[in-house]
C-alpha cells in the first residue's frame, strides 16, 4: 500500500498519528510534472499547426522565451518576494557569454549555456549577498542601480562586449551553432526552455526550498524560528533564478544573433517585462508567469502592429495602465483570481 493510498483511506485510519483526521491533499511535484507535460503537449500541437507560418512561430518563440524568463524571475521575485529589477543583468551575462564564446572561439552555444548559467549565478550571489539584508523597495533600488552599472560597464569594456557597437554573430546555419533559417527550430528550443524552467520552478515550489522561500517572503522572523537560514535560502533562490535567466539570455542572443547594451540591458524592454508578466499572470503562482506571457506578448505585438505606427507610445501606455490596474484590483493576477474562484466554487460545493 504505497503513500497515495493512505490519502484515499477513510478518515479514521489516515494520517500517521492515531485517530488523525484525513490530511488534505498537497500538490506534489509529480502532479505538477503531469500538468507541465500536458502544457508541453498542447504547445507541441500548436507548433505543429503553425509550423509553416513564420510570423506566428516568431511570436510563439518570443512568448515562450519571456514566459520562461518570467517563470525564472518568479522563483525569487514571486515565491521569495524579493522584488528584483536587476534580472536584466543576468540575462545580459548569459547573452554576452554565449556571444563571446561563439564569436571568438566558435564554441557551440549549447555548450556555452553552462558557463553562462554559472557566471550568471555567481554574479547574482555576489551582488545580492550584501543587498539581501535590505527590504522591499531598498532591494529594488539596489537592483535598479545594478542594471545601470552593468549598462555603463558593458558600453565601456569594448574588448569583452564589443562595447557600444555590440557583437554581430555570423550566420553559420546548423544545429551545433543553434542558427537556423526557419523559425520552427527556434520556437522548439524556446518551448523546451519554457518547460525546463517550469519543471525547475515546480521542483522548487513543491519542495522544501519553495516552502522556505514563501516563509521568508511572508515573515522572516517566523522563518528563522522554523530553523530557516534566511540568507542562504534567498541566495539559493536567486542563484537558480539567475542561472535560468542566463540561459534565456543565451538563447535570445542566438535568436537575434546581435548583442549590444541597449538591446539586452534595456530596463523597460527586458528588466521590467519579467515582473510585468508575472504580476498580470499571478505573482508567486507556478503558472501565473506563463499565463501572463501568453496574454502580454501577443497583445503587445498586436498593439505595435496596429497602433504602433499611428500614435507613438500608445502600446506602452496601455501596458503601464494595466500594471497599475492589476496592482490595485487583481493583486494575485489572472491565475490567482482563477484559483480564488475555483476554491470558492469547491468550498461552496463541499
Amino acid at each position: 500500500m504505497n503513500k497515495t493510498d493512505i490519502q484515499a483511506m477513510p478518515a479514521g485510519l489516515a494520517g500517521a498519528g492515531a485517530g488523525g483526521t484525513a490530511r488534505p491533499k498537497v500538490t506534489t511535484f509529480a502532479t505538477e510534472l503531469g500538468r507541465i507535460a500536458a502544457i508541453g503537449l498542447f504547445f507541441a500541437v500548436c507548433l505543429f499547426l503553425f509550423r509553416s507560418d513564420p510570423f506566428i512561430l516568431n511570436m510563439m518563440a518570443y512568448t515562450f522565451l519571456f514566459a520562461a524568463l518570467s517563470t525564472s524571475w518568479n522563483i525569487i521575485g514571486g515565491f521569495g518576494g524579493q522584488f528584483s529589477l536587476g534580472h536584466g543583468v543576468f540575462f545580459a551575462i548569459g547573452a554576452y557569454t554565449t556571444a563571446n564564446l561563439y564569436f571568438h572561439w566558435q564554441v557551440s552555444p549549447w555548450l556555452s549555456l553552462i558557463p553562462g548559467m554559472i557566471l550568471a549565478s555567481i554574479v547574482a550571489v555576489a551582488v545580492s549577498w550584501p543587498t539581501f539584508r535590505l527590504k522591499g523597495p531598498f532591494f529594488a533600488i539596489a537592483t535598479l542601480a545594478l542594471n545601470e552599472v552593468a549598462f555603463v560597464l558593458a558600453t565601456y569594456f569594448d574588448s569583452v562586449t564589443g562595447g557600444p557597437r555590440g557583437m554581430l554573430l555570423p550566420f553559420k546555419a546548423g544545429l551545433v551553432n543553434m542558427v537556423f533559417t526557419s523559425r520552427l527550430p527556434y520556437a522548439i528550443i524556446m518551448v523546451g526552455f519554457l518547460l525546463i524552467s517550469l519543471v525547475v520552478a515546480a521542483y522548487v515550489l513543491r519542495g522544501r526550498l519553495g516552502y522556505y522561500l514563501q516563509a521568508v517572503h511572508l515573515d522572516e522572523d517566523a522563518a528563522r524560528a522554523a530553523g530557516i537560514d534566511v540568507l542562504k535560502v534567498k541566495l539559493t533562490g536567486m542563484a537558480i533564478s539567475a542561472a535560468l535567466t542566463g540561459i534565456g539570455g543565451a538563447l535570445f542572443a542566438m535568436y537575434l544573433r546581435f548583442v549590444d547594451p541597449p538591446t539586452v540591458l534595456n530596463i523597460q524592454d527586458i528588466g521590467v517585462k519579467f515582473l510585468l508578466i508575472a504580476l498580470i499572470g499571478g505573482v508567486g503562482t507556478l503558472y501565473g508567469p506563463l499565463l501572463g506571457a501568453l496574454l502580454i506578448i501577443p497583445l503587445e505585438s498586436y498593439l505595435r502592429a496596429t497602433l504602433g505606427g499611428t500614435i507613438p507610445g500608445i502600446n506602452l501606455l496601455i501596458l503601464g495602465g494595466l500594471l497599475v490596474l492589476f496592482a490595485l484590483f487583481m493583486r494575485r493576477g489572472i491565475f490567482g483570481a482563477l484559483q480564488g474562484a475555483w476554491e470558492r466554487y469547491r468550498g461552496a460545493r463541499s
Binding site: K3, I6, G15, A16, G17, G19, G20, T21, R23, P24, V26, T28, F29, R206, G207, R208, Y211, Y212, Q214, A215, L218, D219, D221, A222, A223, R224, A225, A226, G227, I228, D229, V230
Partner: protein, 241 residues
C-alpha cells in the same frame, strides 16, 4: 552538566546603562515544565530572547544539550531543537494551516509527503487537524497560537519555549491551552513558559522562577514561590505598616 537539557549560566544583558538581565542562572531537566513570572519589565522577554538567540548575551552562557549555543543565530538554535512561539503570533497567512506546520516539518524531512504527514500528525496533537486545509489567515487567535506551537513541535524540538501563549485568550481557551501544554509535557517534552497570569502558573503545578529587575529572586514550587515575601513585594510593592 549531567542530564540538563538546557542550562543558563550567569546570563547578563545590558542595553547601554540598563541591565535588563542580571546574572541569571538556572537549569532545565528533560521533562521539566518551568514557568517564568515577574512584573512587567522584569526582563522575562529579554531573557527569553537571549535563549532563542534574538540577540547575543553581554555575559554568561546558554548551554543546550551540553553544547554552548551563546553565539548561534536563531535559526541555528531552532535546528538544534529549540522551538519557540511569538507573543504576537507570526502566521504565514496565505499558506494553509497544514503548510504552516509543514514549514517546520521540513527541517528534518526533505520529502514533501513525509513532511505533510508529520505536519498533519502535529496538527492533530494540538487539535487543529480539522482546520488543516484552510488558509491560515482565517484562523482565530487561539487557533493561531496552537499553530505556532504545532510549527515548533514539527521541528522535533526537544525544548519548547512559549512566550505568553495565553495572552488575549478567553477563559475557556486558556484552559484548553493549559491542557495541551500539560499533555505535551506529559509526553516528555521539556517546556519553558513565560507567563504573568498567576492562575495559569498555579494550574501548571510545576516549578516556577521569578525575575525582578533582571535578577532571579525565587525558584521553586508555585505555593512556595508565591508566598515568598520578596515575590509578593516585587508584585504588590512594599507593604507599609
Amino acid at each position: 552538566m549531567s542530564g540538563f537539557v538546557l542550562s543558563v549560566e550567569n546570563l547578563t544583558r545590558r542595553f547601554g546603562g540598563l541591565v535588563a538581565v542580571n546574572d541569571v542562572s538556572f537549569n532545565l531537566r528533560k521533562g521539566d515544565l518551568l514557568s517564568i513570572i515577574g512584573p512587567n519589565g522584569a526582563g522575562k522577554t529579554t531573557m527569553f530572547n537571549l535563549v532563542t538567540g534574538q540577540y547575543p548575551p553581554s555575559a554568561g552562557r546558554v548551554i543546550f544539550n551540553g553544547a554552548d549555543i551563546s553565539g548561534l543565530r536563531p535559526h541555528a538554535r531552532a535546528k538544534l531543537g529549540l522551538g519557540r512561539t511569538f507573543q504576537i503570533s507570526k502566521t504565514l497567512t496565505t499558506l494553509t494551516t497544514l503548510e504552516n506546520a509543514m514549514v517546520g516539518a521540513f527541517l528534518k524531512r526533505n520529502n514533501l509527503s513525509e513532511a505533510a504527514d508529520y505536519a498533519m500528525h502535529v496538527l492533530d496533537m494540538v487539535g487543529l487537524g480539522a482546520r488543516a486545509g484552510i488558509k491560515a489567515g482565517t484562523l482565530t487567535l487561539s487557533e493561531r497560537r496552537r499553530l505556532e506551537i504545532a510549527r515548533a513541535l514539527a521541528l522535533d524540538c526537544s525544548v519548547l519555549l512559549l512566550d505568553e501563549v495565553m495572552a488575549g485568550l478567553n477563559q475557556k481557551e486558556v484552559e484548553s491551552v493549559i491542557d495541551l501544554v500539560r499533555k505535551l509535557n506529559g509526553e516528555g517534552l521539556t517546556i519553558m513558559v513565560i507567563e504573568h497570569n498567576l492562575k495559569v502558573v498555579r494550574a501548571f503545578q510545576s516549578r516556577v522562577i521569578v525575575l525582578d529587575f533582571g535578577r532571579l529572586i525565587a525558584d521553586g514550587s508555585p505555593d512556595h514561590v508565591l508566598s515568598d515575601p520578596h515575590v509578593v513585594e516585587a508584585y504588590l510593592g512594599r507593604q507599609h505598616a
